[in-house]
Amino acid sequence: MSIGVSLQSLFQGKREKALGVSERLMLQYSAKGDEASLAALFDLHSIKLFYFLKVLSDSTIAEDICQRTWIKVIEHRHLFKSGDNFQAWLFTIGRRALIDEFRKNAKLEYSNEAVETFLPSELVKYVQSSVEDDVAKGLEKDLFKACLEQLPYKQKEALSLQLEGFNLSQIASICGAQKETVKTRIRYAKDSLKTMLEKL
């Protein structure tokens, strides 16, 4: 075997090794357009995307945007390249679709940067009322989600992405912000969230 061939196989091996399950499925889908790969990707990522969109909006908008995001995955499947992170790509599409929706309907001020809009005691009251509503609807108490939803938009966006497992560079790229800005948003978000959870 020549040096060129062995180097090529070494790099090929490295490249293949670095590919995660979702990336392999997406490349498979990108090449064939097969339903099985798309269904598998959907089953692996849909609830996480749904949760992320629900924290930033409401159930109706989250369902609509989730569907639009997956349709964009189908339409733009050729744009996914080997080496891309599938979940980061999916969340970037989802986040952009959500912002487009906000711009179109002016339903929410998505650029909310306020750090201390409300006092922690006021936020806790909102959380308690939101949890009581959920319990009245027969849903299980979820204090964490209720607290997370009370945070300013950009803070909960950055924190949700970090808790989902994305690193700072990926979050900065998904949100189109500087790493330092993202770091600050996450720090404020964690402080507020911890304060709320400790008061409950």
Binding site: L27, A36, A40, E75, F144, L148, E164
Partner: protein, 222 residues
């Protein structure tokens, strides 16, 4: 005592799990979106086939209507068309080269989950998650009870993050969905203490469905 970052992370995962399992409206919405997305994919695949068919018919029509009076136009048109075909050909060969590489490196992922799981969830009006889960578990077990294991494959468990990723000697990857693992477990079809790194034997029926996963007694020889 202050809440640590690790505790926040755990609370986030628990919250996602609660959201997934206890809110039936979310499961129904997710099932609706899944059905619509797969329908769109099918329509797009059919659409591409139709486009190709129209292009072929148009090409035949052009040949048919070509006459001596239009020779000059036909020659000019042919040159333009040839340039177009050359460009498309070059683009396609470049494009398909990329596609082939992608297909070569990834055509080894097999996903196993419940067939029709989403339809059952969407149609069932019962709000109890366990009842709905049992409904599709029963359906799977009924279909798999009559089936016999026809092949057995050794593999190693490599990841457990919401699903099981099993890798065999040919580096083929088998992903088993969270619901299917739970169902196999309930029905005693997962034997032994299986953790990341454990070597297992996968039993498949004639249709390629997983019937059981057990700890392998023999070491994986690759």
């Amino acid at each position: 005592m202050s809440i640590s970052d690790k505790e926040l992370q755990e609370a986030f995962r628990r919250s996602q799990q609660v959201y997934k399992q206890n809110d039936s409206s979310i499961q129904k919405a997710n099932a609706r979106v899944r059905a619509n997305v797969l329908k769109h994919n099918k329509a797009k695949a059919n659409g591409s086939a139709t486009e190709r068919m129209f292009a072929s018919v148009a090409s035949h029509l052009r040949t048919y209507f070509a006459s001596s009076t239009l020779r000059f136009t036909a020659v000019a048109f042919a040159i333009v068309a040839m340039l177009g075909v050359y460009n498309i050909g070059t683009f396609q060969s470049r494009h398909s080269q990329g596609m082939q590489t992608a297909a070569y490196s990834v055509d080894i992922v097999h996903y196993h989950g419940f067939e029709g799981e989403d339809k059952l969830l969407a149609n069932n009006a019962n709000n109890d998650y366990q009842a709905r889960f049992n409904a599709y578990t029963r359906q799977y077990v009924e279909s798999s009870l009559v089936a016999k294991a026809v092949t057995e494959q050794p593999a190693t468990l490599q990841s457990q993050n919401g699903y099981w990723l099993l890798v065999n000697c040919e580096n083929q990857q088998v992903i088993v969905s969270e619901s299917l693992i739970a169902s196999l477990d309930i029905n005693g079809r997962i034997e032994g203490d299986i953790n990341v790194g454990t070597q297992v034997a996968l039993a498949f029926d004639g249709q390629g469905r997983i019937l059981s996963i057990k700890q392998s007694t023999k070491p994986l020889m690759c």
